[in-house]
Symmetry: C2
Subunit: 350 residues, 2 copies
C-alpha cells in the first residue's frame, strides 16, 4: 500500500482552503467545501475527504463548477424553499440549504429546502450533522451519476444516492447515519483492484449484470440487499432520486454527466439535493425527546453483542476515529499531500 | 399447503367491516382499518391484509386497543401537529395523520404529523399511498416491537420498522415503496417452518445471534444488508424508531409489549407513527414534476434487465396483483374466511 502521512487538522484545513482559493473559488464556497471535506477526513470517510480537493479544483478551473456562484433562493411556502446553486460547489449550497431548513423548522416545526443546479457535495452526513448541531432531526440526500444497477438490471441506473440523517443527543455527539444505498462505494472496487482482493458476494456485477466478486470484472454496483433483497436498496435509491432530482428539477441519475471518467468537464451537471429539518420541540418536547434519545442509545449500545463484536450506534465509529485523528493527525495519501503542498516537518509515517 | 379461497373484493370488505363492528370498533375506526387491510389484501401484502382482522378484533375485546378512541390533535407549529390516538386502532390514526399532513403541506409546502398512543396499523404503504393520491410525495413510518437484532447483536432490539414512501405519477398508479428494514418479515420464518424450507443466507439468526437458514432455529431477524452490511438496515430501523417513537413519545421497540405471543393483551402498547407530506408544487412545480417523474419511471422500466428478469418500479408488482385480484377475487385462507363468515357461493378454489 501507499505510505500515508499524518497531517495535523489545522494544517490540512489550511491546505484545502488555499487550494480551492487558488482554483478561483469565492471565499464562502471555499470555506464550505473545506468544512465538508474536513468533516469527512476527520471522521474517516476518506473517500469524501481531502483527496477530493484536486478534483474540485480541476472542475472549478474547467468550467463545470462555477467558482463565483450567486445562489437564487426562493421561499416557496411557509416551510419550504428552493435554492438554485448557480452550478457552484455543492457544499456551499447544501450548508446554506440546511441552515435555511433549520430556520424554517424553527418557525414552522419542520422545514424543507430543495437544491437544484448544484454539483458534487461530498459526504451527505456533513449537512445532516449541521442540522443536528443546530438542534434538529435532519435529513440530507443527493442524487449522483449512475453506477448502481436497478434490481435485476444489467446497466448502471441509479447513483450511490446516499441517505444521511442525524439527531441531537444531549451531552453527546449526534446520532449520525450516512449511508449509500448500494452496499459499497465504487471507490472500494478501485481500491480492491489495486490490492488484488476479492469483493464480498452480492455487491458488484459484471457488464452483463451477473454478480461478481472480481473487482477487475466489475462494471456496476448492486443495490443494498444484494441479489435477493436489492429491490429494497434500489427502492431507497429511487426515493433519493425522487427527493433530490425529480422534486427539485435536477438531472436524473441515468442522464447525469459522470463525475469522473468523462471528457466533458466543462458542462454543469445540475445535481440536486434535499434538506429536511424537524424540530423535536414541536413534537414530544425537548425534555422528553432528550430523555428518550438518551434511553434509546443507552439501550442500543448496551444490547448484547455476538462474541468479539460491539454494538455501535450510527456515528459511533466516526466519532471514535475523529477523536483519534484530532489527537494524532489525519492520514493523507502522498498525491493529495503533494497537491495540497503540505509541509514535511509536520508529517510522520503512519 | 392450505386451500385458499377466492373472495370478491366487496364481500371481503363487508366481512372485515362487520367483524370489527362486532368487536365494538367505532364506525370511523372500523372503516379505516378495513380500508388499510383491503389495500394490503388487494396488493398482495397478505401478511397485513384480511388475516389480521381476527387479531384486531381480539385486541379490541381484550382492552389493548380502545374501540371508541377520542383523538387529541394538537397543532404544534404552522406545519406540524401531534395526534394522540387514545390507544385506538392505528389505521384510523394514521389515515387521519396523513390527511392532516397533506393539509399542512397544502398550506406550508410540507407538513408532518407525529402520532403517539397508537397501536399496530398494518401496512405502512396504505398511508403513504393516501398521501400520494392526494398529490403529495408522502412518507409514513411506524415502529414496532423488537424482532430484529442490531448489527452484530445477539438479541432482538428493533422492530421490522417499515419505511413507506409514495409519489404521485400522472395518468398512472403512484410510485409506492413499502419496505421493512429487515430483509424478511417474521411471518416468512413461520411460513417456512410450516413448509419445511430453508431461509436465505444472512436474513435470520439463532438465539446466540449466529446466522442460520433453519427457520426452526431462528430466534431473531438480521437487518437489511445481512451480516456484511446490516449496519445500514439497522441504521434505517433506528431512523424509523427516532421518527416514530423518540420524536413523538412512543414506546421504544425494545420496551414495547409484543404484538403476539404475550399474555398481556390488556395493556395499550403506545406505538408511534410519523407522517410526512411534501407538495411538489412548492418545489419544481407540478408540470415539471409530472414530466420528470414520468421520465424517471419510463427510464427505469425501460432499463436493460438480466436474462429472464424484468425491471419493476416500486409498486409495479403490487398494482399488477391488484388488477388480477380485482378481476378474480382475493385469496383468503380458510381460518380467516371462517372468522369473517364469508359466504360459500361466492368462493372458488384457487
Amino acid at each position: 500500500m501507499n505510505t500515508m502521512i499524518r497531517v495535523p487538522e489545522a494544517e490540512l484545513e489550511a491546505g484545502i482552503l488555499a487550494a480551492l482559493r487558488a482554483a478561483g473559488a469565492e471565499e464562502g464556497c471555499a470555506a464550505a467545501a473545506t468544512r465538508a471535506m474536513m468533516h469527512a477526513s476527520r471522521c474517516g470517510v476518506d473517500s469524501h475527504g481531502a483527496r477530493l480537493t484536486a478534483h474540485y479544483a480541476a472542475m472549478l478551473r474547467s468550467g463545470r463548477v462555477n467558482p463565483v456562484p450567486r445562489f437564487d433562493i426562493r421561499r416557496t411556502g411557509d416551510a419550504t424553499a428552493l435554492l438554485h446553486a448557480d452550478h457552484g460547489l455543492g457544499h456551499a449550497a447544501a450548508y446554506s440549504g440546511m441552515e435555511l431548513a433549520c430556520e424554517l423548522a424553527r418557525q414552522c416545526g419542520i422545514g424543507a429546502v430543495g437544491i437544484v443546479g448544484s454539483s458534487h457535495y461530498g459526504a451527505a452526513g456533513a449537512y445532516a450533522l449541521a442540522g443536528a448541531e443546530a438542534g434538529f432531526i435532519a435529513l440530507c440526500t443527493t442524487n449522483s451519476d449512475a453506477v448502481v444497477a436497478p434490481h435485476d438490471g444489467r446497466a448502471r441506473f441509479h447513483g450511490t444516492n446516499p441517505i444521511a440523517a442525524a439527531a441531537p443527543v444531549p451531552n453527546q455527539k449526534p446520532w449520525l447515519l450516512d449511508m449509500a444505498t448500494s452496499s459499497i462505494p465504487l471507490n472500494r472496487v478501485h481500491l480492491y483492484r489495486t490490492l488484488g482482493l476479492a469483493l464480498a458476494d452480492g455487491v458488484a456485477a459484471d457488464g452483463s449484470g451477473e454478480p461478481t466478486t472480481d473487482p477487475n470484472a466489475t462494471e456496476m454496483l448492486i443495490p443494498l440487499g444484494g441479489t435477493g433483497y436489492g429491490f429494497k436498496g434500489a427502492g431507497l435509491a429511487g426515493l433519493v432520486t425522487l427527493l433530490s432530482a425529480v422534486l427539485v428539477g435536477g438531472s436524473l441519475d441515468s442522464r447525469c454527466i459522470p463525475m469522473t471518467g468523462t471528457d466533458d468537464i466543462a458542462t454543469p451537471r445540475n445535481i440536486g439535493h434535499f434538506c429536511l429539518a424537524i424540530d423535536p420541540v414541536r413534537f414530544v418536547g425537548r425534555e422528553a425527546y432528550d430523555a428518550l434519545i438518551t434511553q434509546y442509545l443507552a439501550d442500543l449500545r448496551g444490547a448484547p453483542a455476538r462474541p468479539g463484536k460491539m454494538i455501535l450506534a450510527p456515528g459511533d465509529r466516526e466519532w471514535a476515529v475523529e477523536a483519534e485523528r484530532r489527537r494524532d493527525g489525519i492520514p493523507i495519501d502522498p498525491e493529495t499531500a503533494a497537491f495540497l503542498k503540505l509541509r514535511k516537518p509536520h508529517v510522520s509515517d503512519l
